[in-house]
């Protein structure tokens, strides 16, 4: 692997909450067993819609007062951060907390809190006197990272990265940069989303004709399937503890994997429609940085949201690189958990991470009849596939044409 003399960066801890699990091992089991995290929920102004909500204990690591003061994104972040540190075997009392950074990918932030305030405003006859003083700290873009900083008393550089649905990968990539620059010694990085707590995202996807629906909510998110009809909106979070390899080895840390390569680029094409050529370029650049070829990749995890054009364009890009050039297994995660927005990339990587240990590829859920335009060789669906896995390529793409590809390999 070519790091140009820069330090190698490894994953030593994972903290997550998904609509179907609240830790890495349970999440892996749920994905292998085909457990859906989707259900019908009552959405303000929208009625009954399919969504994915997490059921972690919000007050496991946060006081009731701070939970009430903060945001759902903050609560998810605080939970994941504590779990990621504990999983890494790190205790804050033994660390220089000014050397810890937090990098959280977010699709968007502040919509939930703003909608709630406007709802209250209407309940109060538009009397602005009751507008909450909590509105600004709840809606600043760095809210999720800031709540971690406050909760853990971490004083290093803590911020979020806005990158639509490519954001989960982006948090990890930012952590790699900061660790390599020597700005920090440990990073808590990944992505978080509270999206289904806003009606606006449901209404907007519905207006776009891209809101997933089915009388059985567990069947509503069906990437690559002929009958797919859009996105199931979910919340979630996944933060990784990342360290320089030498530091991890010195303390005898468990190493889940190494960040081998990555790339971020932009389509410069359309507000919402993807550009498969740019996606190809993104994956190729990530492979080049990792010093790998398509033959070296064992799993490609698709972004695959379950929209008509999104899935077709991504499959076209993946086909161009991998079909005929690689035996990489290809899977997707949103059939199980829906689209966790800013958390999607980070959660979906986590879903495959333990394949380094159990040598299985989790299947994509709800793919019954493949759309011919989405046909891919070595697509894993229906049931898990046994396979020796050493390298994973994780795709995440977002609106306004932001693409990210992250490659992780077993250490």
């Amino acid at each position: 692997m070519n790091t140009n003399g820069l330090p190698r960066i490894v994953i030593t801890g994972v903290g997550l909450t998904a609509p179907n699990a609240n830790n890495l091992r349970d999440f892996r089991k749920a994905l292998l067993d085909g457990v859906s995290g989707l259900d019908h929920a009552e959405i303000r102004h929208m009625g009954k819609r399919v969504a994915g909500f997490c059921d972690f204990d919000e007050t496991k690591h946060q006081s009731k007062k701070m939970r009430k003061r903060g945001t759902r994104a903050g609560a998810i972040s605080v939970y994941c951060a504590h779990e990621a540190l504990a999983d890494a075997g790190l205790e804050l009392v033994n660390l220089d907390t000014s050397r810890i950074g937090v990098y959280i990918g977010i699709t968007e932030h502040g919509n939930v809190e703003t909608e709630n305030e406007i709802h209250e405003l209407y309940q109060n006859d538009l009397n602005i006197e009751y507008w909450s003083h909590h509105h600004n700290p709840r809606t600043v873009a760095n809210n999720a990272a800031g709540e971690i900083s406050l909760n853990l008393k971490v004083t290093g550089p803590c911020y979020t990265i806005g990158a639509a649905c490519a954001a989960g990968n982006m948090g990890l990539i930012e952590a790699v940069h900061m660790l390599r620059l020597g700005e920090i010694d440990q990073a808590l990085a990944g992505g978080v989303s509270e999206s289904p707590h806003t009606f606006g995202i449901f209404a907007a996807f519905a207006a776009q004709g891209a809101l997933g629906h089915h009388e059985d909510p567990k069947l509503a998110s069906r990437p690559l399937d002929k009958k797919r009809n859009g996105i199931a909106i979910s919340e979630g979070g996944c933060l990784y503890t990342l360290e320089r390899l030498d530091d991890a080895l010195e303390r005898g840390a468990k190493i889940y994997g190494e960040i081998a390569g990555f790339h971020i680029n932009s389509d410069s094409t359309d507000f919402v429609l993807p550009n498969s050529s740019r996606q190809v370029q993104c994956m190729q650049a990530a492979l080049k940085r990792a010093g790998l070829t398509p033959q070296d990749i064992d799993i490609v995890n698709l972004h695959a949201t379950g929209t008509g054009q999104g899935d077709i364009q991504e499959c076209k890009a993946v086909r161009e690189i991998f079909d005929g050039h690689s035996e990489a297994s290809i899977n997707f995660t949103k059939g199980h958990i829906g689209h966790c927005m800013g958390a999607a990339g980070a959660l979906e990587l986590a879903g495959n991470l333990l394949s380094f240990e159990d040598n299985m590829v989790h299947p994509g859920l709800n793919l019954d009849e493949i759309d011919p335009d989405c046909a891919l060789k070595n697509l894993v669906y229906g049931r898990p596939r046994d396979k020796k896995v050493k390298v994973i390529l994780n795709n995440s793409f977002g609106m306004l044409g932001i693409n990210s590809a992250l490659i992780v390999r077993a250490y």
Binding site: S63, K64, K65, K68, R69, E129, Y130, S132, H133, H134
Partner: protein, 84 residues
């Protein structure tokens, strides 16, 4: 309005803010901040709840009047009586 009624209203508001703490043993003559984990945002919460629940305005220059339970009661009693 009796002082005990005003005290109970304030205590209920504080209990709903200091959710993790037992507020029943508050010493009325000591600063609330010295007994409970309250910061400036919490005091703004108290001001907001007085406004929302009881239509009582506490102008910024009067915030120091909310320092202790006894000063709260002294300050708020005439305000409660005025809105009754």
């Amino acid at each position: 309005m009796e002082k005990t009624e005003v005290r109970q209203i304030v205590l209920d508001i504080i209990a709903d803010i200091a959710l993790d703490e037992d507020v029943t043993g508050i010493d009325d003559d000591k600063a609330l901040r010295d007994q409970l984990d309250l910061d400036s945002m919490d005091f703004l919460d108290i001001v907001m709840e007085l406004k929302k629940q009881h239509k009582i305005e506490v102008p910024q220059e009067d915030y120091p009047q909310l320092a202790s339970m006894s000063s709260c009661v002294e300050y708020l009693k005439p305000k409660f009586e005025a809105v009754q």
